[in-house]
């Protein structure tokens, strides 16, 4: 059931309707196009700041695109910090074994069984 690669299952035509319309996400060039769309959207939102009266509590909010830049910088910082943190905190998956759920294989036989809870 998991990881079966039978051609029948791989046949896009047999995917549900919604999935068929999302198959483009597997295509890198189309994804790239999406990225560019995102960049443009961001630029647009930054520019939008100049066209309305911003209701604010703090002065810094008046900086155009403040929210955007703050979000970008902080998120990048977050990821980089977390990456650093990983050096410090990462342990083997079975670090706490045997008293941990991670060390256990999920019972294959239980998958999808509707009468019993996995």
């Amino acid at each position: 059931m998991t990881g079966s690669h039978s051609p029948r299952a791989e046949d896009p035509a047999r995917f549900p309707w919604l999935s068929r319309h999302l198959l483009w996400t597997s295509d890198p060039s189309k994804v790239n196009r999406l990225v560019w769309a995102l960049v443009i959207l961001c630029a647009g939102l930054t520019l939008a700041d100049f066209f309305y009266h911003k209701h604010s509590h703090f002065e810094i909010e008046q900086v155009p695109g403040f929210y955007g830049f703050y979000g970008f910088i902080m998120c990048a910082a977050l990821v980089i910090a977390a990456k650093g943190l990983r050096v410090l905190l990462k342990r083997d998956e079975d670090y706490y074994a045997p008293y941990t759920v991670e060390s256990e294989e999920h019972p294959e036989a239980d998958l999808g069984r509707e009468n019993i809870d996995a």
Binding site: M1, V79, A82, L85, R86, R91, L111, D117
Partner: protein, 564 residues
């Protein structure tokens, strides 16, 4: 006999009767229908305290209805109903009973007008919920459950001790606003804090939720922590320290969430982060902030349940919830994916989704009160939560690189549960007025202003941009099978090691001492035996002369006395 018909009694009665309902559709229907009955009990009542009586000089009030308890009661009931639908396939009586008891206790605690009742239901949630973890029936789940239970009951006993002290100080057990200051209130505060997963007291959450069963996690995510938020809102509104605690709570889990592999644990971290917002709201304590807390709790329960449901469905079908093992599932589980995205959008507070109309209340309140740093932190946390919950969860589960797994779509009842939840999320987001009506305070607030929408979109899209850039540049940390150390290390590694060391020392000493004592005692008995045993001098038959000698000795002794 006081009036005992409260929502909690309804649930508890149902739980008791459930095992006797014939198996099949009727039994499955019970957990779905009971919440309606529960709501019916309190919905029509005016504000006030009901079912109150005097027990041993303590004023007990089982059901206090006011705006704050009503909204929490309502959302708990909704969550119970949705979770029951989601768990339609579960035929495990223990889980069903535990689920009902758990929901009932949580609702009972919400309506508690006095601290005794609160304590009773507080412990009730602890006990009932552990079965949802244990029900997974693995060694690891058992151990996790035990840890969870001890922490939860620990919270309960601290609460009880606090209540005792408070009762002694003030002579009342009414559950009303308290001032931090005495030992009693601090204890109560910490008891609430444990359930609310305050920083360093939080780890039970990330430990337990991923260990529970698929359906169990959904139920768990709804009640315990929000009950704690409610209790804080009731007992400690406007307590300044809560603002900082809440700010820290919003902050640190996002770092963990980024590097965590198990998606259910990622959700647990983000749950912790969302709780932070509510705690900040309680800490600020203005009507707006408290409204924000209530609203956010309401929305949060829904979208967090939705997220847990969708990840649970994935787990249910694929047998894993680890980011490193998943990917490309949209191909066969599109509906699940869609609902997951709705949940993700809600938690990220996209406009038109529920998170947007509740989180902004808290942010505005913090800004209104001029807490600049806190406001910045909350903003950062908002971006962060989008980052790990809004993007990471759907992305790694359903897109990213194709894991090759082609599971079936989630079962129909799960889809229904997710669908209803998603509809509620969107509904609230689009049309927040009814929710605002329910909020405890009458404060006019308009979420959909241009600046609010634009700034929020800026924040979110730039965060998304950051994510994309980091992915493209491969800076983003890959999903790895790993365990990340958290504060649970203290009690899973450090304390056991210390205890083991201590035990070693004690058993060593004990063994040494007992060996020494045994030899001493043996030697002592041997000495006694030598003297008193059948052949010993004291038991032997002595010649007559020796007794005469003794007479002489005694005589001499006494005569000496006579001459002194």
């Amino acid at each position: 006999m006081p009036e005992l018909l409260t929502p909690a009694t309804v649930y508890i009665l149902a739980a008791i009767l459930l095992p006797f309902v014939p198996k099949g559709i009727f039994r499955q229907l019970v957990p779905v229908l009971v919440p309606f009955a529960g709501v019916a009990v309190f919905w029509t009542l005016q504000s006030g305290t009901f079912s109150s009586f005097n027990l041993m000089g303590l004023h007990i009030g089982l059901m206090r209805i006011d705006d704050l308890s009503r909204i929490f009661g309502l959302i708990f009931s909704i969550a119970a109903c949705l979770a029951a639908i989601y768990a339609w396939h579960v035929r495990d009586t223990i889980q069903q009973v535990a689920g009902l008891l758990y929901a009932g206790s949580a609702i009972g605690a919400v309506f508690a007008a006095d601290l005794i009742t609160l304590f009773v239901f507080w412990e009730g949630t602890a006990i009932a919920s552990v079965f949802l973890i244990w029900a997974r029936r693995t060694e690891g789940a058992y151990a996790t459950g035990m840890r969870y239970l001890i922490v939860q009951i620990g919270s309960g006993v601290i609460l009880m001790a606090g209540v005792v002290l408070l009762y002694r100080e003030t002579g009342t057990v009414a559950f009303s606003q308290m001032e931090l200051g005495s030992l009693a209130t601090w204890m109560i505060f910490i008891a609430f804090g444990i359930k609310c997963a305050f920083p360093l007291l939080h780890n039970w959450l990330q430990d337990a939720y991923p260990a529970a069963t698929v359906t169990g996690t959904v139920i768990l995510s709804a009640f315990t922590t929000k009950l704690a938020v409610y209790a804080l809102a009731r007992g400690f509104p406007g307590t300044e320290i809560l603002i900082y605690i809440g700010a820290v709570m919003t902050l640190f889990p996002i770092f963990y969430a980024v590097i965590e592999n198990d998606l259910r644990r990622v959700l647990a971290y983000s749950l912790n982060n969302q709780l932070g917002f509510m705690v900040v709201g309680v800490g600020i304590g203005t009507p707006l902030a408290l409204n924000g807390t209530a609203a956010h709790a309401f929305c949060h329960i829904l979208y967090k349940a939705l997220l847990f449901m969708s990840v649970g469905a994935v787990l249910f079908r694929t047998g894993t919830a680890k980011g490193s093992e998943l990917g490309g599932l949209y191909k066969t589980m599109p509906w699940t994916m869609a609902f997951c995205v709705v949940g993700a959008a809600s938690i990220s507070a996209f406009p038109l989704f529920s998170g947007f109309i509740s989180k902004s209340l808290i942010l505005s309140a913090s800004a209104d009160e001029g807490h600049f740093i806190v406001w910045l932190i909350l903003l950062f946390a908002s971006a962060g939560v989008f980052h790990h919950s809004g993007i990471k969860i759907p992305y790694f589960a359903f897109f990213a690189h194709d894991s090759g797994k082609r599971p079936k779509e989630a079962p129909r009842h799960m889809l229904i549960a997710m669908g209803v939840t998603a509809a509620l999320c969107i509904g609230i987001g689009v049309y927040p007025a009814p929710l605002y009506e329910l909020l405890p305070y009458d404060v006019g607030y308009e979420p959909y202003t241009t600046s609010h929408v634009v700034t929020q979109l800026q924040l979110l899209f730039f965060s998304a941009l950051a994510f994309t850039v980091l992915m493209k540049t491969r800076v983003y940390p890959p999903e790895l099978r790993s365990t990340n150390l958290d504060s649970d290390w203290i009690y899973r590694r450090m304390l056991p090691a210390m205890v083991a060391g201590l035990r070693h020392v004690i058993t060593g000493t004990w063994r040494f001492a007992s060996r020494v004592t045994t030899t001493r005692v043996d030697r002592f008995i041997a000495t006694i035996y030598r003297a008193h045993g059948p052949q010993g001098p004291l038991a032997r038959t002595w010649p007559t002369g020796s007794m005469v000698l003794w007479m002489a000795v005694l005589l001499g002794m006494t005569l000496v006395l006579a001459y002194i």
